[in-house]
């Protein structure tokens, strides 16, 4: 009886969705649900969304950081996420990258990879790259070495001990260095860079990983206007090949890049749409400007 009602729940769950996903379709072995776990290492984004969060809740010591958050990111999409402080933007990134485990909810990469079951480095290797809010680069390494370390390659211990850069890899590093405009500072120690340059270096490290999804937390904090424009250009050029999720406070910047904007408030989605739609949304105005 119990498993029958479970199946009923599942069917209802599927019916209330506007899209269907592999892992929500009732499987034949539903009776074994508790024992099998979905964890394959190939990315399957054939049904549209590459990143999929549903009903994700996280609380820290009673504080509800995420409250039944649902979010889908499509393949190749550029999405901006805005929201006041404490809306749960950084926590959301922590959940996606495996730093924080959700209390409840589903987090899938493509159709088959359950991110809640994967370690941080596995998630990174699977193709999700992250830029932190505060630029975190390796201060004692040169720009070149920072990029070399981030490069997509076998990251096992023994391989790392004996590996030597191939000429294709060197070309790739130089290519990225050109994109982020740091080629003249190639051998400079990373902690000597300016704040904006550090932000760029971190974006460059993301590019070296060649991820499917880039999570970018406040990329233009502390940048000048020219730097901001170049960042906007870079991020829009990346969309298409990669999915890019940008968390940002600077509204002008968001307006300059985003087609789709998601507004978070108190741990769940308040509104979604284009920048104009969102800005004219009554709920959003209340949250941002007060009543």
């Amino acid at each position: 009886m119990n498993s029958f009602s479970q199946m009923q729940d599942k069917v209802r769950d599927v019916l209330r969705r506007d899209r269907t996903f592999n892992h929500t379709i009732v499987e034949e072995n539903i009776f074994l649900q508790g024992t099998h776990s979905v964890h394959h290492n190939t990315l399957d984004a054939s049904h549209g969304p590459v990143l999929y969060l549903e009903d994700v809740s996280v609380s820290f010591d009673g504080f509800q950081a995420l409250n039944k958050l649902s979010l889908y990111i499509d393949d190749g999409e550029l999405r901006c996420i805005i929201g006041p402080n404490g809306a749960g933007k950084t926590t959301m990134m922590d959940v996606i990258t495996g730093k924080t485990r959700p209390d409840t909810g589903l987090v899938y990469f493509g159709q088959t990879m359950d991110l809640t079951q994967m370690a941080e480095h596995d998630i990174a290797i699977a193709g999700i790259g992250r830029k932190f809010q505060k630029p975190t680069i390796f201060p004692e390494h040169s720009v070149w070495e920072n990029l070399e370390l981030a490069m997509k390659t076998d990251k096992g211990v023994w391989h790392t001990l004996f590996t030597v850069l191939t000429s294709e890899q060197k070309d790739r590093i130089e290519e990225v260095m050109l994109i982020i405009g740091l080629q003249e500072l190639c051998y400079a120690r990373a902690d000597l860079l300016s704040h904006g340059q550090k932000q760029w270096l971190e974006i460059g490290m993301l590019l070296m990983q060649d991820p499917r999804v880039l999570l970018v937390d406040e990329p233009v904090a502390g940048m000048t206007h020219q730097e901001m424009d170049r960042t906007a250009e870079l991020l829009t050029s990346l969309a298409g090949k990669h999915s890019v999720v940008v968390v940002e406070h600077d509204m002008d910047f968001v307006r300059s890049i985003a087609s789709q904007v998601t507004v978070l408030h108190e741990g769940s989605v308040l509104a979604e749409g284009t920048m104009d739609e969102v800005q004219n949304n009554q709920k959003v105005i209340e949250v941002y400007l007060g009543e």
Binding site: F138, L149, K155
Partner: protein, 380 residues
């Protein structure tokens, strides 16, 4: 530079290391010539002779320097302040001690062909199982690497997987070495208890008391230090070395670009423990004794001070620190024994306050200043 012919590619930029290894080779060759070859060929011309006790003392320092390199790898490069590294050193020492005990054979006080003296004294009738195999040198050599390596693996696997870092990890390593000390103090351990293992006679059939054996062991210590240094430099210059420094500086970032941080920490920790084991194994035949005092937490702390004074994260700094502090220790404990601990404390305070990068940092600062002066002259 011609000198680069003698060194592998990855050492070409390591000026400090090249100087260090060249000096080491020079001293070793001098010792071999003046203490071994000349007395052998011209028995009457012994005026250039370095006293054997000094050769042994120097050999002892070299072993300690190797131990300092081992700590510098994990502390200076990976940021793991292990305050229990002397435990791996002592374990390697005990493995060697067990082999040397078995070499005594029936020449012990009680004349038992198999059992070491302390076991006869304790009325044990047969050899415990863990002493099997130590009559073979090859087996011992394997154990010298394996025992410290295995302990480091198990300890590291548990702590790194649980993401214990910083001062908590240091405290746990202290507890580890303290627990081992208490265990080795017990007679029931079958490793000589309080007195440890001593009264060694031969190594590979050569008498430990003879001058030539001592010179050979000294040369082996020098070779081990050189090889340990080169291997460590290779690691540090490899991408693994860069990754390990990255872990030290921004562990989370390293995780998020796809490195399994635990495995890297574990690898470097185990390698370092093996290096420490080798150092201990070469130390024991030169001092003639190994006892549980070597596990004392104080030893491990002193080791950290050598590395701090020499300059961590440079490898040759660790060697310099070990040599300076141990020479000072030998001098002070002979001349002014009551002042030694004060001197050590002062050295440590002075180096943390004024030389955050140790003696090596002092050289670097001087070098940078002269380079800057040159630069200013050029631009002016």
């Amino acid at each position: 530079m011609i000198i680069n012919y003698f060194f592998p590619q990855f050492m070409h930029k390591d000026t400090g290391g090249k100087i260090l290894l060249s000096l080491l080779a020079l001293v070793t060759i001098m010792v071999i010539i003046f203490n071994f070859l000349i007395p052998l060929l011209l028995p009457e011309a012994s005026s250039w002779h370095m006293p054997t006790y000094m050769v042994t003392l120097l050999g002892k320092y070299l072993c300690l320097a190797l131990l300092a390199i081992a700590l510098d790898l994990v502390w200076g490069y990976c940021g793991i302040l292990s305050l229990g590294h002397a435990a791996f050193f002592a374990l390697g020492g005990y493995a060697m001690g067990m082999y040397l005990m078995r070499q005594i054979g029936d020449r012990g006080v009680y004349g038992d062909p198999v059992l070491p003296d302390f076991m006869v004294f304790l009325n044990w009738s047969e050899l415990p199982w863990y002493w099997y195999g130590f009559e073979s040198f090859a087996f011992t050599a394997l154990m010298i690497l394996l025992v410290p390596g295995l302990l480091a693996y198990v300890f590291g696997w548990m702590t790194f997987r649980s993401r214990v870092t910083g001062v908590y990890l240091s405290i746990m390593t202290q507890a580890l070495t303290y627990a081992l000390m208490l265990a080795f103090f017990r007679n029931e351990m079958g490793l000589g208890g309080n007195n440890g293992l001593t009264d060694f006679k031969d190594i590979l059939g050569f008498s430990l008391q003879s001058d030539s054996t001592r010179i050979v062991i000294f040369s082996l210590s020098a070779a081990a230090l050189a090889m340990g240094y080169i291997a460590s430099r290779f690691i540090v210059e490899s991408k693994l070395g860069k990754t390990v420094v990255a872990i030290r500086d921004a562990e989370l970032r390293t995780r998020f670009i796809g490195y399994k941080v635990e495995n890297f920490k574990l690898w470097i920790f185990v390698f370092s423990a093996m290096l420490a084991g080798v150092a201990g194994a070469l130390y024991v035949p030169q001092v003639g004794i190994i006892n549980p005092g070597e596990f004392s937490p104080l030893n491990s702390i002193e080791l950290a001070i050598w590395v701090a004074i020499g300059g961590r994260g440079t490898l040759f700094g660790a060697v310099i620190g070990a040599l300076i502090v141990n020479y000072a220790k030998t001098y002070f404990t002979g001349a002014l024994p009551e002042l030694w601990l004060f001197a050590l404390g002062t050295l440590f305070i002075v180096s943390t306050l004024y030389l955050p990068k140790g003696v090596v940092g002092l050289f670097e600062r001087f070098q940078n200043r002269t380079e800057n002066n040159k630069l200013e002259e050029k631009t002016a």
